[in-house]
């Protein structure tokens, strides 16, 4: 273990990926006890830069200096040795191992060639968790823990390895508003001992925690300065390069009759535990119902159950007066269900298929795309050309493999397919996750447009802003059942946060 880190600098870092310049001559600087917020849109290059700092990627150009001396990290273990530690956005935990074993993976002090001293690791976990008041059970398996608990494990793990310089990649993205506040308070306390780099695109958090901010756009630092000297609006404007006001659901609610009615739905998870516990929810034509909740509370299972992709143990799903639970996905699609699934790369599109093949994925055997089971290339092509134009899919051509497109364009392909099929209802699951603001704006506009056409929408999202901007009503899901359904004007962040945390309102 080396001494303190009084100053850390990354100078002129450049990193290229095929077709992308992920970091373009970036320089940042953090002093002892400082908190630097690294702000930028999705895809701006924040995570890449931090992975370079941790030695996970090698920069093509540039250097890293600690206390004025150049360091070379060949891997994360070199970074650990210098006292750096990172909590990744996707937690880096091995699910079927205990907390102690996860820490042991990096805690080389407990390693000897033929023996792993787990008790020693366990003691260290307890020591750290007490010192920073981060409650974790060292013997719990990761898969038993909630998202919030897993994050604490990540923090404990990083601290156990001796980190005095913390890198946090979007640490609040999966937390409730209350959990977020707690985390910020905790981190603020830690700054007496630690320096922190904090990646975020949520500006309230940036303002609350950081004293310096660097703004990244398209792999470049467009601004660096003191947080207190700039308003959130200024920072937001610099982040996107131009001001985007995301569309809001401001038109009057003209909800029709109930089209999707879920009653007492019980569904099991992959691990055969109860994922949906007597869930009930009604959605009317022409309204957007936002489903708020910390991910992992049954959102995935709900959308899969409605779409015939997961077995319903009991309860009913009534769609336009017809029960559709346990029908095949094909039958649900034919009943008029539109679906934007959670994982766009493996559920929304067949990545190796061309754009045009993905457009007709659900309708391959229908006229005009096929007659007598033979595909009609001409009709498919003209249809595809039209969709690419209407939905502004940026691509070399309709024969390009859909998987090679950017996330935003993949989502446009899916959206185009689903909307052009003229669904009677649409389920959108995390439709804007990981997209830049331009794409988010487009998708929000499309969702509002189909609402205007009198189509009901179930919007599942972890972004409270998105839900509050778009929804007519907001349902909060917790542990597989609906806590409460609020009208748009009853919902506040604080109230939703309390509900998402499982507190029942009286």
């Amino acid at each position: 273990m080396e001494g303190r880190i009084t100053e850390l600098r990354m100078e002129h870092i450049t990193k290229r990926f095929p077709g992308v310049l992920a970091s373009d001559d970036i320089s940042i600087e953090v002093g002892e006890g400082e908190v630097l917020a690294l702000v930028g849109e999705n895809g701006a290059g924040k995570t890449t830069l931090m992975n370079i700092l941790m030695g996970l990627y090698q920069p093509d150009e540039g250097r890293i200096l600690i206390n004025g001396e150049e360091v070379r990290f060949r891997g994360p273990e070199d970074a650990f040795r210098m006292g750096l530690g990172m909590v990744h956005q996707q937690y880096m935990l091995v699910q079927n191992m205990t907390v102690t074993e996860n820490v042991a993976l990096g805690y080389k002090e407990a390693w000897s060639p033929f023996r792993l001293s787990l008790p020693e690791v366990r003691r260290r976990v307890i020591e750290i968790s007490e010192r920073y008041s981060l409650a974790v059970n060292p013997d719990a398996y990761i898969w038993q823990l909630s998202v919030g608990e897993q994050q604490r494990v990540e923090l404990v793990k990083t601290l156990c390895l001796g980190a005095r310089f913390l890198i946090l990649d979007e640490p609040t993205s999966a937390l409730t508003p209350q959990e977020t506040d707690e985390l910020i308070a905790l981190l603020r306390n830690m700054t007496s001992e630690l320096s922190i780099i904090f990646i975020s695109h949520k500006l309230q958090e940036v303002k609350a925690l950081s004293n310096k901010v660097s703004i990244l756009r398209h792999g470049r630092v467009v601004f660096s300065g003191n947080t207190d000297d700039h308003s959130s609006q200024d920072i937001a404007a610099m982040m996107t390069g131009h001001s985007i006001d995301l569309p809001k659901n401001e038109e009057e609610r003209k909800a029709g009759e109930t089209v999707l009615s879920i009653r007492d739905l019980v569904v099991l998870s992959d691990r055969r535990t109860t994922a949906l516990d007597h869930l009930s929810l009604d959605i009317k034509a022409g309204e957007i119902v936002g489903l708020a909740g910390v991910s992992g509370n049954g959102q995935r299972e709900l959308s899969e159950a409605i779409n015939g992709l997961r077995k319903v143990e009991s309860g009913t799903i009534t769609f336009f007066g017809k029960e559709i639970q346990n029908l095949s996905p094909r039958q649900v699609i034919d009943a008029g269900m539109g679906y934007i699934p959670e994982e766009r790369n493996v559920e929304g599109i067949v990545p190796a298929f061309s754009i045009r093949e993905n457009f007709i994925l659900k309708d391959a055997s229908k006229a005009p795309f096929a007659s007598h089971a033979i595909l009609s290339r001409k009709d498919i092509d003209s249809y595809s050309e039209k969709l690419v134009k209407d939905f502004d899919v940026r691509c070399p051509g309709i024969t390009t493999a859909a998987g090679s497109l950017s996330g935003g364009n993949i989502q446009k392909v899916i959206l185009a397919r689903e909307i052009e099929r003229k669904p009677r209802f649409l389920i959108a699951v995390y439709p804007t996750r990981g997209l830049d603001l331009g794409a988010v704006e487009f998708i929000h506009q499309q969702l509002l447009a189909i609402r205007r056409d009198g189509i009901g929408v179930l919007l599942i999202s972890e972004e409270l802003d998105e839900i509050m901007d778009l929804s007519d009503r907001i349902a909060v899901i917790y542990k597989g059942s609906i806590q409460k359904v609020l009208m748009h004007d009853e919902a506040t962040r604080a109230r939703l946060g309390v509900l998402m945390a499982g507190v029942k309102e009286v």
Partner: protein
């Protein structure tokens, strides 16, 4: 990155792949003290030197082609069929069974019926791993291998018992386990030497498979299931059905290959008809780029290797097993080269290194 660099990269990778395949095989040949050049000459060139040899190459290319076409359908649907050996055996049994049962039915009726029996037999043997994969998630790699062993035992059991040639029965344990010579009504005519009209069937099937896989909605759904099963399922495609169907088709082709082999070449069921064609078919399918029009030349090439290897023991003293070594090496080299070719990162890095070198020179 320029177009010419991309092409150069591709050519270079393929060249390296070819050279390393030859090199590994050469090392084995060198170990057994063989004349490496003479061995390759015997295997790859000698069979092309006269028409008799050439017909023998084509005879071997026919089952390879038919089997590889079936394997392609399965592979494109996301299921790797290494059970062609067993499916072929069952196809032969079905074909022979029909031929033995109805020797006097006229040829226009008997031959198609026997072929249909072979198709059904092979298809059934493909259905088992297909349905097990689709419904119970059983690895087809393991189940098809096991079914190969089961089929092989069943095959020899049949040849020793119910199919046994009455002429051999009297010999007891000394008799050859084989069926009697089949009725001429199930023979395929010969074109030249032992080359038979199965070659026409193989060519027709290649076109048929191209059409099925790339031009029809069934093929579309099979390919979607194979490419990304989850997205296919989310898109309303009954993945389990199409995976099973692909496996049935694949098995049917192998079974048919067995029928053709009996009708055209052996005209009775004997031991060793399958001749490792089932495994070679996997290599042919991969070598042919999993596309019918690539499989046609690929099956000729491997027909050449397999026939050439039979010449090797007498001419250069190299065991015929060397062809299996080559096939193993070729599979490994092909799948490795494919990964290198599709590795955009590697290509990108190489390109930039090259640019850097140019800058330095300038």
């Amino acid at each position: 990155m320029t177009r010419s660099f991309r092409i150069a990269f591709k050519v270079a990778v393929m060249l390296i792949a070819a050279v390393s395949a030859v090199l590994i095989a050469s090392i084995i040949l060198w170990m057994i003290g063989a004349d490496v050049g003479a061995t390759f000459y015997t295997i790859c060139v000698v069979p092309l030197t006269n028409s008799l040899h050439l017909t023998e190459v084509l005879i071997r290319a026919i089952p390879l082609c038919v089997i590889a076409l079936g394997i392609t359908v399965a592979y494109r649907s996301g299921i790797i069929n290494i059970g062609a050996e067993g499916q072929m055996s069952i196809g032969i049994l079905a074909f022979t069974g029909v031929a033995l049962a109805f020797p006097d039915v006229p040829r226009p009726l008997l031959l198609p019926t026997a072929f249909i029996a072979a198709v059904i037999g092979g298809g059934l043997w493909g259905f088992i791993p297909g349905i097990l994969k689709a419904r119970l998630n059983v690895s087809e790699l393991l189940s098809t291998v096991m079914l190969n062993y089961i089929a092989a035992q069943f095959y020899s059991l049949c040849l020793r018992t119910i199919y046994l040639d009455p002429a051999e029965q009297g010999l007891g344990a000394a008799g050859t386990p084989q069926s009697m010579r089949l009725s001429e009504n199930v023979w395929l005519d010969r074109i030249s030497g032992r080359l038979h009209y199965g070659i026409v069937i193989a060519l027709v099937l290649a076109v048929l498979i191209y059409f099925l896989v790339w031009k029809t909605t069934i093929g579309f759904r099979m390919r979607a299931s194979g490419s990304e099963a989850r997205a296919a399922r989310y898109g309303g495609i009954n993945v389990a059905f199409y995976v099973t169907l692909a496996m049935v088709i694949s098995g049917a082709f192998s079974g048919l290959a067995g029928g053709i082999e009996i009708a055209g070449v052996h005209r009775r069921a004997i031991e060793g008809v399958t001749n490792n064609y089932g495994f070679s078919g996997v290599v042919v399918a991969l070598f042919g780029g999993l596309h019918p029009f690539g499989i046609l030349p690929a099956s000729f090439f491997f027909g050449l290797l397999i026939y050439g290897a039979t010449l090797a023991p007498s001419r250069v003293g190299v065991p015929a097993n060397i062809v299996q070594v080559m096939q193993g090496v070729i599979i490994i080299v092909i799948v490795t080269a494919q990964m290198v070719l599709s590795n955009a990162y590697l290509q990108d890095r190489l390109w930039r290194k090259l640019q850097g070198m140019r800058k330095k020179e300038a």
